[in-house]
Symmetry: C2
Subunit: 557 residues, 2 copies
């Protein structure tokens, strides 16, 4: 379907549909008149489906592919469905991971456009972010009427690339004309609080307020200083004017995909934008949205951060798993960065799948703590055996899943996810979800962290470093007592230790640092070494990417 | 006129016209089949008009406004005309200067879109540039098989903002995992060699070659290392795939404007893209293009760098002047940064205009050295007197201009530049330009620099610092003997000293540094303190910029 027809079918007025280059468009959301969750004024209320996953492995479980395949299958069944996903960062595209356009016969097209710039939203976020950074140093340089204490400035600069040399830098060298020397860092753009804000805002007014609320440091007498104090939030919002418009693209079967927002799933909340989901919910029967990393990370943040701001929860959660990744969680073999994936992982191995199911079972119970039913999607691989699938299905259903369905959408497109789609519709109809966040707003932040660590990760308790404790004492100053928490930990384990596969328990979860995102309105608790600026590998993907002299991109998918 | 109709009238196939958001589109230039200057296969050959100017002042002479107004007037006269200008950088938009969309009734619309991102080309250039920077440090980090000597790496990083704290930085701090500490700098994106390459390339093949040719440093044994050695030029080109497509917008009178490329006019060559001009020349009767800063800077580089690559010169040059700026060059009053402009400059003062004409006369003779006829455009201001205009006209014509025409396009739009347009057409018809660059390709680079300094700037001779002399000895290593020179000096004077107004002479022009742009294929000679990363002022423009809650940008024009 052409994008304009697609938008029309979603109730987008012609005046609010704007092509932004071949294969992509933006929807100016100002035709949406009132923010009225949970049904957004619709009867029957549109279905809302979360796609989340087991604890990820370097093998790839196919969460994006499943989100796309499921949405295409639902459309085949006559349920008008929009899939909403995050926009990929260019960093991993040139690094190691490849793109974020799905795979096989379940993709978003054109994939090179999706993976390179798309419509420039990430660049716009970077420009808004760096404008604040420049304004801070400019204020210090020009008399510092705000009395910024330079040692307290926590606002980094950003770039949408992997660049390890920028992790720790000294700026302002070269004499007085260049400002004052100061140690700071560059993060990758998608980890910026501005990206989280873009993804969480429900209107321009909300966006402007949140940008103004960004706290960048303290004054010499200890007051929290905000972007508003520099009178820069208006210009930041102007830079983001069109970045706030959700991007519309097409799946490989011509159904609608909204690609908007790309916050990290550790340091930020890891979910596509609220405004994108709202556009989808307002103009379709169903929105399928994907959360980053496992159900303990992007999934938990979907429920505790995004759904809080969106004002509703999902009707069902689809948990993506593969036999191959379960084999790895079950201890069959491990991967080593830079080495080929052990071939043994490609072959059926029922005992290790059974062992690895500990991980999936914990993630099933994690989702169920939000009072939402779970359907497991078994993303089939050629080496899988029916015995493995039976183990996964039986144990999943014992563990509280409604069902576990084998899908072949990678090979077969939407046709390979029809059974999953039918089951998802059925569960929505029969099992009334009664979404509830994990903790109430008024629980002390320390207890919020403890609740997530215990109930999601399986920790015995949480330890707070002296630095974290000191920061926690500042909650009132940041006005953060009522904020949800956003825990930054490894994606590779339910615990804070990436080597712990399966379902670790009885460990102490070490919170080393607390940061306040006063614009995004969450408290970030950092456990372990969270890299906010990835590096490039020794054999970087950029070497394989080229433009032909005819103007076609090769090596990006 | 709607942009799609506009493109159609320019012979752009429907398949190669792509809207990129409200009020802007891109033209995929792959329908242009052969690069065949000077007439690009057309009969009669399309007219090609350069708009350049007297030595600029902080008062603003209205070069962009005149380019737009003249193009609208030509269209009114039935000459189908496209205006081609550079895209503004966001740095000055948030700093002090305001935007680059023209002014009064001669503008490009929507001006906020033009001034903020447009279609993201500058961001794409920044990403391609920074990808190379990251690849360099990554190579050093991962074994350095290329034997890069880190002390010779001259490739900075870039950001499209004014940010003085980034002028000199140390990167790679924080231990071995973050690479090796190294002193480097950030420039503003538009000063990047990648931007110059984008603006000079005639095809994807040319773009890829030039990117591969970028020299970023030397090996331990003194070999020049290029982007190609890192196998990164293909990914850089992929990032620039759509950035290479010229942007189409509309003037305030609905005539076509191509806005593409934004190289600096000191450190780079300061002219809009060749591919944009080619699209214009292929589909209209006339292209009016603007060069940055005065005729000695962007003008000279237009002739010696852009026209060399384009394969043709202009039929006529329009030299923009104002009585007000001539009063200042004549010594009536000077401006001081951060202080209001002296009111005395607003009132007619024939003696100081007569004195200031020295500047305009030098610029007239500068353009005539390229064997191109000159028409002076007197951009009228309310305080001007007819006596002043008479002085300007009489002296201009004595000095070799074909005419000097008073224009009121700022107040009246195209109607205010009809006489100028008529005169421009007439000169094209009657005076055959015979464009010739200032120096031959095979003149030694040192002599090329000397030729420009003597013949354009009025210098008695050129001095080379020891550092510059040392670099000049490396010409063969850089394969740069046949390159044109790109001289970076202040825009505020014909000399290297911004305080020297009028037409200084008998001075020594001090070249302090030589850089080789092996991808852009020019040799940059730096004289004086050329800032490649501007700072923000004490009362930055971003404070006045805001987004309304209804989603409209205010304070950008």
């Amino acid at each position: 379907m052409r994008l304009d027809k697609m938008a029309q079918s979603m109730g987008v007025p012609e005046t609010h549909f704007h092509p932004f280059g071949p294969g992509r468009a933006k929807i100016d959301p100002r035709y949406l008149e009132t923010f009225s969750p949970p049904s957004f004024g619709r009867e029957p209320s549109p279905l809302y489906v979360l796609v989340t996953g087991m604890t990820p492995t370097p093998l790839g479980e196919g969460k994006t592919t499943t989100s796309i395949g499921l949405s295409m299958a639902l459309n085949r069944l006559g349920t008008r469905t929009v899939v909403t996903i995050r926009q990929p960062s260019m960093g991993p595209v040139f690094g190691i991971k490849g793109g974020g356009a799905g795979g096989g016969k379940s993709t978003i097209e054109p994939s090179d456009v999706l993976n390179l710039h798309l419509t420039g939203d990430v660049h716009a976020v970077g420009a808004a972010h760096n404008l604040l950074a420049s304004a801070i140093d400019n204020e210090i340089h020009h008399g510092n009427r705000l009395e910024i204490n330079p040692l307290t400035v926590g606002w980094p600069r950003v770039v949408d690339l992997n660049d390890r040399a920028l992790r720790k830098v000294i700026v302002g060298l070269g004499g007085a004309a260049n400002g004052s020397p100061r140690e700071t860092r560059f993060d990758i753009t998608v980890s910026s609080e501005v990206m989280a804000i873009l993804a969480l805002s429900t209107s321009y007014g909300d966006l402007i307020d949140r940008l103004g609320d960004i706290g960048f440091g303290l004054s010499r007498d200890g007051r929290l200083l905000k972007a508003r104090d520099l009178e820069v939030e208006g210009a930041m919002a102007a830079v983001l004017r069109e970045g706030f418009w959700p991007n519309l693209m097409s799946t490989s079967e011509g159904t609608p995909a909204i690609v908007h927002g790309s916050p990290f799933a550790n340091i930020a909340h890891g979910n596509s934008s609220i405004i994108g989901d709202w556009v989808g919910l307002s103009g379709s029967d169903c929105v399928v949205t994907e959360a980053g990393f496992g159900a303990d990370l992007g999934g938990e943040k979907f429920f505790d951060i995004k759904c809080r701001a969106l004002g509703r929860g999902p009707d069902v959660a689809v948990l993506v798993a593969t036999a191959k990744s379960l084999r790895m969680h079950g201890g069959l073999a491990d991967t080593v960065a830079g080495r080929p994936i052990p071939e043994i992982l490609d072959k059926s191995d029922v005992p290790s799948v059974r062992q690895g199911m500990q991980n999936l079972l914990r993630q099933i119970s994690n989702v169920r703590r939000f009072h939402v039913p779970v359907v497991v999607a078994i993303n089939a691989h050629p080496g899988d055996s029916p015995e493995e699938w039976n183990v996964i299905r039986d144990l999943s259903m014992e563990g509280g899943a409604e069902d576990a369905i084998v899908c072949t959408h990678f090979r077969d497109g939407g046709a390979g996810a029809l059974e999953l789609a039918e089951r998802v519709r059925e569960v929505c109809r029969l099992k009334k979800a009664s979404y509830r966040p994990l903790y109430p707003d008024d629980l002390p932040v320390e207890e919020k962290i403890r609740t997530v660590a215990r109930e999601m990760y399986g920790a015995r308790d949480v330890t707070f470093s002296p630095k974290a404790k000191k920061s926690l004492a500042d909650i009132e100053r940041y006005g953060a007592a009522g904020f949800p928490v956003c825990i930054a930990k490894t994606w590779a384990s339910l615990s804070h230790d990436p080597s712990q596969k399966g379902a670790p328990s009885d460990f102490l979860f070490p919170v080393e640092e607390i940061r306040y995102a006063t614009g995004a309105r969450f408290v970030t608790a950092i456990a372990g070494d969270i890299q906010t600026m990835p590096g490039l590998p020794s054999r970087p993907a950029y070497r394989r990417i080229r433009l032909t002299s005819g103007g076609n991109v090769e090596g990006v998918s």
